[in-house]
């Protein structure tokens, strides 16, 4: 029986992924600490006391129903949105209270893959990937930058598409280009907003394998926001389930499977 046809609980965890070992005191500090974050838009509370931590080398998948504020959480982490209360501590910096210079200093150590890749449509694929290098590595020569871009595109499997415009490539390829751009500055933290949304199962599997490979090589603290249980099972070391603005459970897939909460059981068996 093909892997994708197995019930979720019986799917094998990828043998390739192993969490990073803690080698230094620096690595023992969580890269991301989210402490009691709340956020409302008007009368609608979308985040209600969300808390979690992510270490380097770890991938946390945050799942929940569509439209429940998961993307808003990522926006708070990267500093695009201020929380109403709580502390988003990213690499020790409180993103809700820091100056713009401090926030940008943290952002240079983060890579963000937006839900629809958000490639700059007036630039080629190569120019998109080069964008962070142009703005934050001014001493890099043009040839060094070109080599770096080529290496990144090769890493994500887009080496033959560097001169194409974003509108000329498929959705899956746009996600790969977005991933390459997110990795341009060799980030410590990687944020992925629904990386497999809108993709066919084969493309989704390819993106999952790519994320696994990149995580193994770069050992980043990663957060993946998704409602794709199959994808989460493949790439995550821990999973957090959100419902009504709260994280109702977080842990490994085995720990989640032991839960008898109706929402958890329903989500794991993909009855949505």
């Amino acid at each position: 029986m093909p892997v994708n046809d197995l019930p979720v609980n019986d799917m094998p965890v990828s043998e390739e992924y192993k969490p990073a070992t803690k080698n230094s005191s620096e690595d023992s500090e969580p890269a991301i600490v989210i402490d009691q974050i709340t956020k409302s838009f008007g009368s609608q509370k979308v985040l209600d006391g969300v808390s979690f931590q992510v270490q380097r080398g770890e991938t946390l998948a945050i799942l929940g129903r569509s439209g429940t504020g998961k993307s808003v959480l990522l926006r708070i982490i990267v500093g695009l949105e201020p929380p109403d209360s709580g502390k988003p501590l990213i690499l020790g910096t409180n993103m809700s209270q820091a100056s713009i210079a401090e926030i940008n200093s943290v952002r240079k150590q983060m890579g963000f893959l937006f839900q629809h890749a958000a490639l700059y449509d007036s630039l080629t694929v190569a120019e998109n990937v080069a964008f962070p290098l142009i703005h934050h590595r001014p001493k890099m020569s043009a040839s060094e930058r070109s080599d770096c871009v080529h290496a990144l595109l090769q890493e994500v499997g887009l080496e033959g598409h560097s001169e194409k415009m974003p509108s000329d490539i498929s959705g899956g390829m746009q996600k790969r280009a977005g991933l390459a751009r997110a990795l341009a500055l060799d980030p410590v933290i990687l944020l992925l907003d629904e990386p497999t949304a809108g993709l066919d199962p084969i493309s989704s599997g390819e993106i999952d394998e790519l994320i696994l490979k990149l995580q193994k090589e770069h050992q980043m603290a990663s957060i993946v926001v998704t409602h794709d249980m199959v994808s989460a099972k493949t790439i995550a070391t821990r999973i957090a389930l959100m419902d009504k603005g709260k994280i109702i459970i977080q842990g490994t897939i085995e720990e989640l499977q032991k839960s008898d909460e109706a929402f958890v059981t329903q989500f794991l068996h993909r009855d949505f």
């Binding site: 504020g69 201020p82 958000a118 700059y120 001014p138």
Partner: protein, 270 residues
């Protein structure tokens, strides 16, 4: 930091309440003031986006030249046709060159150039930035630790300010030239004589201040278009609305500012 996400949770309406028109207008001007201050701070702090400024100068300035020349030429022809008849009637045919030159340089060329650029560039900038906003490209720029006000807005506004007087000079040149052609077709007069008669008695205040007032027009067009584009919400509908309101508002403010600027020039250069 953005305060209004381009994508809200699905069950939060972006039209929960409709403020009254007066409140909405005051809020608009308030947000515009904050936007202008943010852009000014971004524009004067390094690093400077010279390459992007150059690209925008080409897009806004160089690519508007054909349209501006066409508009300026038409103005010259119309002025020559319309004013000749009146001047002949009152026995002042010899004033035709000066009438055309002064009308073109002091008012017609600046305002027509402003309106043409407002339509082409204002709509283009408004739509481009609105599309970037709704597809999270502006958020991606900000998440990359690059200031979108510096990269997108300041460069475009600066390009508009620099390009406008240059485009106005082009429009004035072709307006005067085509005015001469039209006049010559009705009654032959040499170009040299036409120019000499046209600029006889012209002073600094007649020629340069009206041309440089178009810098203010450029600032208005760039600022309104960038502001409307970068605050867009609502998908394709929002993009269309941004393009339309960019043109309408920049044209309106341009004309209103002309009323003020004409008086300011008269006061500064009596």
């Amino acid at each position: 930091m953005s305060s209004t996400p381009s994508v809200l949770p699905s069950n939060v309406s972006s039209r929960n309440s409709r403020p009254n028109p007066i409140t909405a207008t005051l809020e608009w001007f308030g947000e515009l003031g904050i936007f202008v201050w943010t852009v000014i701070k971004a524009a004067v702090t390094p690093p400077f986006q010279i390459a992007e400024f150059g690209r925008q100068l080409d897009e806004i300035g160089a690519k508007s030249v054909p349209l501006v020349i066409l508009a300026g030429s038409a103005i010259g022809v119309v002025l020559a046709l319309e004013t000749r008849y009146s001047l002949v009637r009152f026995g002042a045919k010899s004033l035709l060159p000066a009438t055309i030159v002064f009308a073109v340089v002091t008012e017609m060329s600046p305002i027509i150039t402003g309106l043409v650029v407002s339509g082409r560039v204002g709509a283009g900038i408004g739509a481009e930035l609105a599309a970037m906003k709704v597809t999270e490209q502006i958020d991606a720029i900000e998440a990359s630790a690059v200031d979108p006000h510096k990269l997108l807005a300041a460069t475009r506004i600066a390009a508009c300010i620099v390009a406008m007087p240059l485009l106005t000079v082009a429009a004035s040149f072709f307006g005067i030239f085509c005015g001469w052609i039209t006049a010559t077709l009705m009654e032959p007069v040499s170009l040299m004589r036409f120019i000499n008669e046209g600029f006889k008695g012209a002073a600094f205040k007649d020629l340069l201040p009206p041309t440089f007032k178009t810098c203010v027009y450029g600032m208005i067009i760039g600022t309104v278009a960038c502001f409307q584009g970068m605050r867009t919400r609502g998908g394709a509908e929002g993009v269309g609305r941004a393009a339309t309101t960019s043109v309408v508002l920049s044209s309106l403010f341009l004309i209103l500012s002309d009323v003020v600027l004409v008086k300011v020039i008269q006061l500064l250069f009596p």
